[in-house]
C-alpha cells in the first residue's frame, strides 16, 4: 500500500470535533491529487464507536487503549510516534486546536519530519505538496513546499469545509496493536466554564471590546451601549487577560463561540483566534483605528475610527431613536 495521508481524529469527551471533518475534507482533496489513501486514526477506548462517522476515510485505525482516554496531547504523542514508525505515512494532519496543542511540534522533534503550523490551505503541485500558513495574527501568509512531500501539518480550525469530510459509508476498521507509554502528565478533572452573570452565547446583540478600548474605565462605555441595545458586552483575549472583564465574556479559540444577530466589534483587530469565535454572527460591524485591520476583511460594515470616541455617540443616537 502506498504511503497514506493520516488524520488524527480529534475528540473531547467522546465526540469527534468539527476539526476532524475539516481535516478529512482536506485529506480527501489531497488524496485525489496525490493518489494516496486516507486513514483516520482514533485513540481511546471508544475509538471503534466513532468509526461509523468517519466515512471520508478509506480506513479507520483504532488504538483502543483506555490510557488514551485522557484529554490533551500528552498521551497521544508516544502512540503516534509508534504509528508513524510502523506505517510511515506521507502526511499527518492534526487539529490546530488547544486539544492537540504541541503534538505536531513534539512528533516532529521525535521523528525528524518537518512540521508546518497554522495551515489554512493545501494543494498538490505535481507530486509536491504546498501548504499555506497564516502568520502574524493573520496579516501574512506563507507558502511552504514539503521536502519529499512528507510532513506533519497542524490544520487551522475553520480553514477547510467540514461538509467535505462527512460521508455516510462505514470504512473498514483496523485495530492497531500499539500500547500507550505511561503518560508523564496526568489528567485529573475537567473544570467547567465559570457561570457568568450573563450567557454571551444567548445574546441577540453583542458589544465586543478589544485592545483598542485602551483602559478598564472605557469598558463602561461599551456596557452603556450594550444596555441601551438590550445586549451584553464581550471581549477578545487581551481585555480578559488584563482582568477588565471576566473569563465568561471571552470570545475566541479558548473562549466562547457566539453567533448573535449583530456583533459590534470595537477596537478588535480580528486576529484568527478571535475570528474563530464570532465569524458566524449574522451581521458584524467593526470599528478600528487601523484601516488595514484584518477584521474589515470579514466584517459586513466597517468604520475606521476611535472606539472610545464612537461608543458614547452611538449610545446617544440609539437612545434618541428609541425615545
Amino acid at each position: 500500500m502506498s504511503a497514506t495521508i493520516l488524520v488524527l481524529v480529534e475528540q473531547l469527551r467522546g465526540a469527534a470535533a468539527d476539526i476532524t471533518f475539516e481535516m478529512l475534507g482536506a485529506a480527501r482533496k489531497l488524496s485525489a491529487a496525490l493518489q494516496r489513501p486516507v486513514e483516520a486514526v482514533v485513540l481511546g477506548a471508544q475509538g471503534a464507536a466513532l468509526a461509523g462517522q468517519l466515512g471520508a476515510a478509506d480506513r479507520v485505525l483504532v488504538v483502543d487503549d483506555p490510557a488514551l482516554d485522557q484529554p490533551g496531547a500528552d498521551a497521544a504523542v508516544g502512540v503516534l510516534q509508534q504509528i508513524l514508525a510502523q506505517r510511515t505515512p506521507a502526511l499527518v494532519l492534526l487539529g490546530g486546536t488547544n486539544v492537540s496543542f504541541g503534538l505536531g511540534t513534539r512528533l516532529a522533534a521525535r521523528t525528524g519530519l518537518p512540521f508546518v503550523n497554522f495551515c489554512k490551505g493545501a494543494r498538490a503541485d505535481g507530486g509536491a505538496v504546498v501548504l499555506t500558513s497564516q502568520l502574524f495574527g493573520g496579516k501574512i501568509l506563507t507558502d511552504v513546499q514539503l521536502p519529499d512531500a512528507r510532513g506533519i501539518v497542524s490544520v487551522y480550525p475553520g480553514a477547510f469545509p467540514a461538509d467535505a469530510g462527512r460521508r455516510p459509508q462505514a470504512p473498514p476498521v483496523e485495530k492497531l496493536a500499539v500500547s500507550a507509554p505511561a503518560a508523564q502528565v496526568v489528567f485529573r478533572e475537567f473544570v467547567e466554564p465559570e457561570a457568568g452573570d450573563v450567557d454571551i452565547t444567548k445574546q441577540t446583540v453583542l458589544v465586543a471590546v478589544g485592545r483598542g478600548i485602551q483602559s478598564a474605565d472605557n469598558v463602561e462605555l461599551a456596557e452603556e451601549l450594550a444596555k441601551t441595545l438590550g445586549g451584553a458586552v464581550c471581549a477578545s483575549r487581551p481585555v480578559i487577560d488584563q482582568g477588565w472583564l471576566p473569563l465568561s465574556r471571552q470570545v475566541g479559540k479558548s473562549g466562547m463561540s457566539v453567533k448573535p444577530r449583530v456583533y459590534l466589534a470595537f477596537g478588535i483587530s480580528g486576529a484568527p483566534e478571535h475570528w474563530d469565535g464570532m465569524q458566524n454572527s449574522e451581521c458584524i460591524i467593526a470599528v478600528n483605528t487601523d484601516a488595514k485591520a484584518p477584521i474589515f476583511d470579514g466584517a459586513h460594515y466597517g468604520v475606521v475610527g476611535d472606539a472610545v470616541e464612537l461608543l458614547p455617540l452611538l449610545t446617544e443616537k440609539i437612545q434618541a431613536k428609541k425615545g
Partner: protein, 258 residues
C-alpha cells in the same frame, strides 16, 4: 523553586507588516518588535510562584531588537537574573530558537531538578515550525503541557490548569522538572514604572551566555511570503464621528435590534 522564563520578541502587529523584496521575509525597515504576549504572562506566572513559594526567577532571551529593555523590565518586576544568548533570534525558526535555549540549559552546572520549572509562553504569532515551548520540552526530555492558565505547586510536582475551548479547562498533574507553555497568568501582568526600569538599568546587569549557533537556522524553506487577499471587504462607513454614529444607529434599527 528555580523558575526559568523564556522571553521571545515578535513583530508588533499593531504596525503595518510588509513583505521584503525577496518575497521570503518581512521588510525590516518599519518593523517594530515587542515581547510575545504569552511570554509576558509566563514572566508574571513565575513572579507569582516566587511570591507564593520562594525561589529565584531567571529570565532568558535570545538577542533581538528591544530585548535589553524587556530583560531590564523583567528585573525591575522582580526577576533575579536576566540572561541574553547572543544568537540573532530574528534569523532563527522556532526549532533553532528552542535548540539555542536547550543548549543554554545543557551548559548549566546542574541539570534541571525536582525544584525546576521552565516557563516559556505557550505560543507565538510566528510559530510556523512549531512552538518553542513544546520543542524545548522534547529537546530536554521533560514533561510538557501547553495553553496553561494556572500553576499551583505541590511536592515534586505542579497542578496545572490548561485551556480547551468554550471556557472548558482541565486540571492536570505534572511532575517536575517540567516545561509549561503559559497562555495566561493567574493575574494580569504587573505594571512597572519606567523609573524602576531605569533604576534596574543602572544597578543590575544582563548576563551574556554564549552557546553554539543552531544549525540549520530554519527547518522549513519558504516558497513565498505575501499579504492575504481579502476574500471580502466590509462596506466602509465614512464621515465625521457624529454622522457615522447616526448611520450605525439607523443600520441597527434596520436590523430590528433596537
Amino acid at each position: 523553586m528555580k523558575l526559568y522564563v523564556l522571553l521571545k520578541m515578535v513583530p508588533d502587529t499593531v504596525e503595518e507588516l510588509n513583505v521584503a523584496g525577496d518575497n521570503l521575509s518581512l521588510d525590516a525597515e518599519y518593523l517594530r518588535f515587542k515581547l510575545n504576549d504569552p511570554d509576558e504572562h509566563a514572566l508574571e506566572q513565575a513572579l507569582l510562584l516566587k511570591e507564593k513559594c520562594g525561589g529565584t526567577v531567571t529570565a532568558v532571551a535570545l538577542d533581538a531588537p528591544e530585548v535589553d529593555d524587556v530583560l531590564f523590565t523583567a528585573l525591575a518586576k522582580g526577576a533575579d537574573r536576566a540572561v541574553k544568548i547572543p544568537a540573532d533570534q530574528a534569523a532563527l525558526g522556532t526549532v533553532a530558537t528552542a535548540q539555542a535555549f536547550a543548549a543554554w540549559f545543557a551548559a548549566l552546572p546542574a541539570a534541571p531538578g525536582a525544584d525546576t520549572l521552565i516557563l516559556p509562553g505557550s505560543q507565538a504569532i510566528d510559530d510556523l515550525e512549531g512552538e518553542v515551548a513544546a520543542c524545548l520540552a522534547e529537546l530536554l526530555h521533560l514533561p510538557f503541557l501547553g495553553v496553561v492558565c494556572g500553576v499551583a505547586p505541590a511536592a515534586g510536582k505542579v497542578t496545572v490548569l490548561k485551556e480547551f475551548s468554550g471556557g472548558l479547562r482541565g486540571r492536570f498533574e505534572v511532575p517536575l522538572p517540567a516545561v509549561l507553555g503559559i497562555q495566561s497568568a493567574e493575574k494580569p501582568p504587573r505594571y512597572v514604572p519606567v523609573a524602576k526600569v531605569r533604576a534596574a538599568m543602572k544597578s543590575a546587569k544582563i548576563e551574556t551566555a554564549t552557546v553554539a549557533p543552531p544549525d540549520p537556522p530554519r527547518v522549513l524553506a519558504l516558497q513565498r511570503m505575501y499579504k492575504p487577499e481579502a476574500a471580502g471587504r466590509a462596506q466602509m462607513l465614512e464621515g465625521a464621528p457624529e454622522e457615522i454614529a447616526t448611520r450605525l444607529a439607523a443600520l441597527l434599527a434596520e436590523r430590528g435590534v433596537l
